[in-house]
Amino acid sequence: METGTAKVIDKKVYTSPAAAVPPKRSSVKRFLKVFLARKVVVFSLFVLLSLVFVAIFAPLVAPYDPYYQDLTKSLQKPSMEHLLGTDMLGRDVLSRIIYGSRVSIAVGIVSVIIAGGIGMILGLIAGYFGGFIDSIIMRFMDAMMAIPMIILALFIGSALGGGLDSVMISLGIALVPSYARLTRGQVLSVKESDYVLAGTISGTSNFKNMFVHVLPNSLSPIIVLVTMNLGIAILAEAALSFLGMGINPPGAAWGAMVNEGYKYLMSQPVLSIAPGIAIIIVVLSFNIVGDALRDALDPRLRGRI
């Protein structure tokens, strides 16, 4: 039999390589090329980096002490002395925004990391194993979603007992269900792919299959959700602070500043608009960078760009 078939075979046919493959680019170069392809991404990245710089070196950058009150100078209009004016206690708004970036960026990033991390794992387990485990996890998530996010965060936060740390943790936990649901949906479709089955057939364990094949291929929409949730987390921190949890006066945070300022919206709009714009800039930059990151990590674009 074997000799019989061998006779039939024309060696020439196989020794010729299957066909030319397009030339290769180094993967780091390619990543950077796709990532930085659009000018707006470069700009957003620059904005984010400078914000981080400002947050770290706030005492050096800020023109005034953000906590120094001078009631004689309260509610001043923007001037050369105070670029964004002063608030009702006479504190310099620009300095407070600069110091506030420390709290706001930290709350945004940390709570989203907590939410994404826990949510992704739960969604992955629920989607991959299905059945009973899936029901337990997802019903729990549904129950969490039934409670408004702020109230849930407030509840967890007060159990943990105030402060910046507990704000981050409580917001992180309150955001978990959205990640779990999204991840589960992705996993459900990805786990049916032939390449996951191929993994099983070549002896890959469930655990490895989950993290090597399923999770990486489910990531794209999660990256988008992360960038969207940053803004939500920053604003939610304001609400929590307003309700007396988290940053207590006189501490500076963007959300809290918007809140304090809105009382003076008619007479001194810059008080709440200025920190509001800061929030918008951060969220927008994260969104743009996140989108570019997702594209750059997408192997489907390899060889084409």
Binding site: T5, V8, V13, A198, G203, V212, R302, G303
Partner: protein
């Protein structure tokens, strides 16, 4: 004579990422009244785009028709805008299109009657009542039983073949002069495909309509078409009457296609000759013969000359080709038929020894039953079973290939998956190298996973898009700890890649950088990595183009000879199965109805289903096709839930009698190596 449709020098381009893809590049053709014209070519050759350009259905942007004329009944259609009243009237009213995917081309929330009436009211100005009557009439024309009732059914209540009939009814609704069938039967099963094609042929004849068939199946062309246009890289490379094209192909591409496609009637040992390489990138097309890089016949003249123009084979003939060389088929026929009587005798004796040779059984399946429970209601009460596989037994010997064929839903994939133990519980016995797979514990599965692997159908979804070739191919190596050092690992991966004809330097690429055929090779390399003794190929070549298909079939045969592999080859393409298999089992509704070695089964089929199945496959040779009798079996594969009593084939079988409804026939041996499950045999 005035042509019904004449296209002159049509050019369609797509602007993608700043480059211009010349999808259709100067195509001229015509269609006469009442004739059947076929467009053949591999995917990406521009055959569909050509048709859609004619109807101005090209998505724009990025597409645009850059030049040419489309003259239909004396008017140039390109003078009218794509959204003009006139074009709307022509689409559907004068020219009807039947699409490939019957599952998505009907609107699921409208009854089929309403969908057909809609077109009729739009084009023929009929009242709703009259339109509905006409719809019923049309449904009868296309062979939908009980049309008066079924006209109010929704699309999901029909099977795929029935939906395609409804599509045809819809396109016929306004008495078009021209029908365009874009791969209209590709998604259907073989027997259904034969029914639909016969129906189209019949309708075209009766209504004196012209039909343009776009297909990649050369067999269908040989059986039905009057004239053929062969397309490659957006150009027509050869055209002429069907018989001329098949008997005396002048373009090397046509010849290549004819030699690459496996035929039901050719000698098994006539090897498939693949066309090396792949279709050129149409975005930077040079003014040069586009086929030259893949051509075996090119000369220096081809390299230095502009793209060849179509010219007649002989003065005044209808057979045109675009090539500088004048190749002779005779030369190839000689090569193919060179087999002398001595060789034939040799073959015969080889075949006989193969038959008698005792080889170890490597896999034995006994009374395999896979039932899926059907649950209903709030309490998920079990109301019945879907008997996907019902009492299947077979053996595979070491080093042989068992082909498992059947139409969709016959349970062939379920058999494959149970052999790979992808189901938790399995009723029946599966013994692999003496070990019981069906009841193997999770721990022992490791042994199975190492010794058994799988090649998948779709090369686009079977490779993890985020992993490099190295980690894809290396996954089994790492899982089974088959290599000790990094150096050994790298060496083994290079070895595997060169074994499947890939350059080992492609290791760090990701799947998206490869073409379909190359991806399939990566999949094969992965399947070979753990050095398995049996490989399950689930439709491993169905998704590939003809020329690539031949490459993969040859590669698999070579690997089998080299490594002594055993294949379980699952497919619905009977010609390809015949080419690669030693023994073949035919499945119908979860049962094996006939099993035998390839020669007996194809030359002397006994079961009526096998006969019908073989008959339904068209052979890419018009002369052979003319002489064949057609057995068109009625009906379609029934749902597994409404399995007929007695013999599963009884409701479609031409031989069936009352007896067949009572007895469920078992496989019985009628000669050496040939078993049939039919009481009439």
């Amino acid at each position: 004579m005035e042509h019904l449709l004449e296209v002159k020098n049509l050019k369609t381009q797509f602007g993608i990422d700043g480059t211009t893809v010349k999808a259709v590049d100067g195509v001229s053709y015509y269609v006469d009244e009442g004739e059947v014209v076929a467009f053949v070519g591999e995917s990406g050759s521009g055959k569909s785009v050509t048709q859609y350009s004619g109807l101005q259905l090209i998505p724009s942007p990025p597409g645009k028709i850059a030049g040419g004329e489309i003259i239909y009944e004396g008017e140039n259609l390109l003078d009218f805008g794509p959204r003009s009243e006139k074009m709307r009237e022509i689409r559907g009213g004068k020219i009807g299109v039947i699409f490939q995917e019957p599952m998505t081309s009907l609107n699921p929330v409208m009854t089929v009657g309403n969908q057909i009436s809609e077109a009729i009211m739009q084009h023929l100005n009929l009242k709703k009542r009259e339109a509905k009557n006409r719809a019923i009439e049309l449904l009868k024309t296309v062979g939908i039983p009980d049309a008066e009732h079924r006209v109010d059914y929704y699309p999901h209540q029909f099977s795929g073949g029935m939906r395609q009939r409804i599509m045809i009814a819809m396109t016929l609704s306004c008495d078009p002069k021209l029908l365009i069938a874009d791969e209209a039967t590709t998604a259907l099963d073989v027997t259904t495909q034969a029914q639909i094609l016969e129906l189209m042929k019949d309708v075209v004849k009766r209504t004196h309509t012209s039909l343009v068939m776009v297909t990649h199946n050369l067999g269908i062309v040989a059986r039905y078409a009057d004239r053929v246009y062969v397309m490659y890289a957006g150009e027509i490379v050869e055209s002429g009457p069907t018989k001329e094209i098949f008997n005396n192909p002048k373009h090397p591409y046509t010849l290549g296609l004819l030699k690459a496609v496996p035929r039901l009637d050719s000698s098994k040992d006539s090897k498939l000759v693949p066309i090396d390489g792949m279709m050129p990138d149409l975005s930077n097309k040079q003014d040069q013969c586009a086929f030259q890089p893949r051509c075996n016949h090119y000369t220096d003249h081809c390299l230095s000359s502009p793209s060849p123009q179509l010219k007649p084979v002989d003065e005044g003939q209808k057979h045109l080709y675009a090539c500088y060389e004048n190749i002779n088929k005779n030369l190839f026929e000689e090569k193919l038929k060179k087999k002398s009587s001595i060789q034939e005798q040799e073959e015969e004796s080889l075949y006989k020894t193969e038959l008698t040779e005792e080889k170890d059984t490597i896999l034995e399946v006994k009374n395999l039953k896979i039932y899926f429970p059907v649950k209903k209601g709030l309490m998920k009460r079990k109301i019945g079973d879907v008997k996907a596989v019902d009492d299947v037994s077979f053996k595979i010997k070491k080093g042989e290939t068992l082909g498992l064929v059947g139409e969709s839903g016959c349970g062939k994939t379920t058999v494959a998956r149970s052999i790979l133990r992808l189901y938790e519980t399995i009723d029946g016995e599966i013994s692999f190298k003496g070990q019981d797979i069906a009841n193997m514990s999770k721990k022992d599965l490791r042994f199975l996973r190492k010794n058994m692997s799988m090649i998948f159908q779709d090369p686009y979804s079977s490779l993890d898009p985020r992993k490099t070739v190295e980690s894809i191919v290396g996954e089994p190596l790492k899982n089974h700890k088959l290599v000790k050092t990094q150096k050994e690992y790298q060496k083994r991966i290079s070895e595997l890649l060169s074994l499947v004809g890939l350059d080992p330097t492609v290791k760090d690429r990701v799947p998206h950088e490869f073409s379909g055929g190359q991806r399939q090779r990566i999949g094969i390399a992965r399947a070979l990595a753990s050095d398995p003794s049996i490989i399950v190929c689930d439709e491993a070549i169905s998704a590939l183009d003809v020329s690539i298909q031949a490459q993969i079939i040859n590669l698999m045969k070579e690997l089998q000879a080299k490594l002594g592999l055993t294949f379980l080859f699952i497919a619905h393409d009977l010609a390809a199965v015949r080419h690669i298999s030693d023994r073949i089992a035919v499945m119908y509704l979860g049962k094996i109805v006939e099993i035998g070695d390839w020669r007996t089964l194809y030359e002397n089929p006994q079961h009526p289903y096998t006969k019908a199945l073989l008959n339904a496959v068209p052979i890419p040779d018009p002369l052979v096709e003319e002489e064949r009798d057609r057995i068109i079996i009625e009906g379609e594969v029934p749902s597994l839930l409404s399995r007929p009593k007695g013999c599963p084939f009884s409701n479609r079988c031409p031989l069936a009698s009352a007896e067949c409804l009572d007895v469920e026939p078992a496989l019985k041996s009628i000669e050496t190596n040939h078993e049939v499950a039919c009481i009439k045999v």
